[in-house]
Amino acid sequence: MNNGCLENRKKEHDNSQKRPKSYKFGSKSDDFALAIAKVAVAQLCESVGFQGFHLSALETLSDISVRYIYSIGKTANLSANLAGRVEGNVFDIIHGLEDLGSNLGFSGASDVDRCVVSSGVVKDITHFVGVSDFIPFAYDVPGFPVVKESTKTGSFWEKGEDPPGEHIPSWLPAFPDPETYATRLSVENETMGVSNGKKTESELERVERNMDRSLLNLQLRFAHNENKGGSSHGSGYVATESNPYFAAPLHVGEKEVSSVVLPTKLSNEVALRNPVHVDVGNHVSVLETFAPAIEAMKSGLCDSDNVKKKLLYDQRPTVRFKIGIGKKSLGTMSDLNSQNEEDLLKIASWFGNDNEKDDKKRRVEKILKESVESSKE
């Protein structure tokens, strides 16, 4: 805790490690407010004369002070509601304070006819304000909790379109463009017409298309969210603006989704490691993002530790569909294995053309040599 000259000491038997936390004041969403309360309470204790705290004692006291505020609010709200009001009043608050101070007592508590205005509680507080020093809070507190902007649903009304048909209300989300589902229908008609004997194949294709579509949607949604939030977590990850519905339907073994721009360091690593797809520049296809998963499977068979380590530390794919990719690529995996050595040698030759980063080239060649050697074993 940073609070000027105060130090915090923690004794071993203090139960500050695991406490069963109640949802109201111990949940994760309340951490920020509790932290502010801790700072304020620490400042107050310092003004009283303490020079240090036990962490558990500070946490306990801040928790109690927060509950004090909460109970004042609750009692005040109760008395306001009893009086038929929604908004609170100064009298409601004084009632709440009297309730809380009743077990310790305040002057005039036993009077039957007392008025709230002349309550002893207020006098005590007035006296306190007059006596105590002015201690401003140590930090600048922003207004919280921050209100999130509601996302637009893309309704007919928002887009300014007229919904086709009177039975559709305008607050519903708009239909996608008609071209998108027109082509799909035609493709499905074709498959239906051709395959009476090839039913299983068309079903497979349909299933795979659905998987691809869901993959697509998910990645788009990620890119969309990152675009909106502008998060630094995904800095460098930018989805190119292409309408996925206009793209040709995918076939088995191929995956072309909207490209993702990686930061140059990551993109180089990914480009280096992928034996099947190589894109010049920063664009990376989905297969590349799944490259670590594919590599992991390959390395599981080849037993190369370096590649594994590198995968674990450096790579961060945007979408994790390891199981799906595993199932899919099992069919293609056997093919890759036989061509493994050739591909790895191919990569080495490719990087002869890369003029830019020599260190990475040397590192890559080392890794490739090691993996080739291990695969030979």
């Binding site: 139960n15 304020a40 204790c45 003004s47 006291l61 004090y68 505020i69 908004e87 507080i125």
Partner: protein, 144 residues
């Protein structure tokens, strides 16, 4: 009649005292920030557009915390004074006043808040036994 008039005057004084006090609150910024108090009042359902009331709650809480801390300080000083009678060295060392759970729980007890702590924690039934008997007990447990 006279009594009523006097009580009315008294009420006016009290009213003005209260309104003056609320006005003075705007000059005095309490240590507990307004945003924090607003957050917890909103959590409890108390709605109020008036800033002065929030300041009032903040000042009341500050007073409460200051009183509790004061009582804990008295306990701490009393304990140090009791120890000083034994050794003079401790007085020079323990000049630092530290808020401990013991003092805090004693002072909170007067305010009706019961904060109790375990005196010690034992990981297993064998903790705290001397090693010789511990081995015996362990062997006995294994045999059973």
């Amino acid at each position: 009649m006279n009594h009523n008039r006097q009580s009315n005057d008294g009420k006016h004084d009290d009213d003005s005292a209260l309104s003056d006090f609320l006005a003075s609150l705007m000059d005095y910024t309490p240590t507990i920030p307004d945003e924090l108090v607003e957050h917890y009042l909103a959590k409890s359902g108390f709605q109020c557009p008036d800033v002065r009331l929030i300041r009032l709650v903040a000042v009341a809480t500050q007073k409460f915390v200051a009183e509790v801390a004061n009582d804990a300080l008295q306990h701490c000083k009393a304990r140090q004074a009791a120890v000083v009678k034994d050794k003079r060295e401790k007085q020079q060392k323990d000049k630092r006043l530290i808020l401990t759970m013991d003092d805090l729980s004693k002072s909170l007890l007067e305010y009706g808040v019961n904060v109790k702590q375990q005196e010690y924690f034992a990981d297993s039934p064998l903790t705290g036994i001397d090693p010789a008997t511990r081995d015996e007990v362990r062997i006995m447990l294994l045999l059973c």
